[in-house]
């Protein structure tokens, strides 16, 4: 099965699940809802995407949501040039999502990092604690837009 048909098969299976599917350059993008996330993940696993590359959170303060983007990948020859991208939007003030550890085991560290950096709570993750930041970190999650980093100009005025 060449790459083209593979993409078509992916497209049909995901549209049957009632999620929005679009294909970009070698990326199958799935816009899922928090409830259907687990179904999409299990479907992706059965299709061959057996591990996660990244769990990424993007903070959209304008429409008050945090978008969690999962990228799944597969090492077998026909799927390796494809990337599966699952986008889920969660409310910004109380971002909660279901942990996908039993579908993709290597999510255990990725979820910790996204929780730490953006405050998205993954229910079911047994050890959700700080990974990169120091354990006593109490300020708001740093990758949120309202965590300001001090900027610098290019001018220095002499006497």
């Amino acid at each position: 099965m060449s790459g083209g048909e593979k993409v078509k098969v992916l497209e049909e299976t995901f549209t049957r699940l009632g999620v929005q599917v679009s294909v970009l350059d070698r990326r199958v993008r799935v816009i899922a809802l928090p409830e259907s996330l687990r179904k999409v993940a299990e479907e992706a696993l059965s299709l061959g995407f057996d591990h996660l590359v990244s769990i990424e959170g993007i903070d959209w303060p304008q429409n008050n949501t945090i978008e969690v983007v999962y990228h799944a990948e597969s090492y077998n020859d026909d799927l390796r040039s494809l990337l599966l991208e699952i986008r889920v939007r969660v409310p910004r003030d109380n971002p909660r999502l279901e942990s996908l550890i039993d579908v993709w085991p290597n999510a255990i560290l990725l979820e910790r990092e996204t929780w730490e950096m953006l405050g998205v709570v993954f229910e079911g993750n047994p050890d959700l604690r700080h990974l990169l930041l120091p354990p006593w970190w109490s300020e708001i999650p740093p990758l949120r837009k309202d965590y300001k980093v001090q900027e610098e100009g290019i001018y220095v005025d002499l006497e």
């Binding site: 610098e152 290019i154 001018y155 220095v156 005025d157 002499l158 006497e159």
Partner: protein, 158 residues
Amino acid sequence: MSEPIESFGKHLKAIKTGLKYLISPNRITVYYPEEYIELPTGYRGLIRYYPEKCIQCSLCAMICPAGAMKMYRTREDKKGRPGVNYQRCIFCGFCVDICPQNALEMTKVHDVAFKQLEEMIFTPEKFSQEPVSPVVAEGAKKLKTVIDEERGLRHEPA
């Protein structure tokens, strides 16, 4: 220790390799203060500023990734002239590559040492003097690196 005979042979081979290099070592040490390596053309060392070519467009300060290049303005000249802060400079050469007038150029000097931190901030005047390597000033022997099939890196008097 399975198949001891064969592993004993391998022990001897490892010791033989060690002895081979004990007898004819291929050292790559350069005795730095007495000798120094002559660097290839285009080496990205300390930067030299030519005020007469500069059109004060401040592109170099805008592109500097480390925020090392700043435009020093005075009351009379509002546009300001570039000065570099070597505490931050990462020698990436972006400023040299974006300058439309070639007013910035990278020299081959890389081993300048500073006694205080403040000395590392080059105001435009200090920035326009040619940096001098202390080792060259003392007249150390100049070597050039040669890649050689037998011994890897070798240094010959340049």
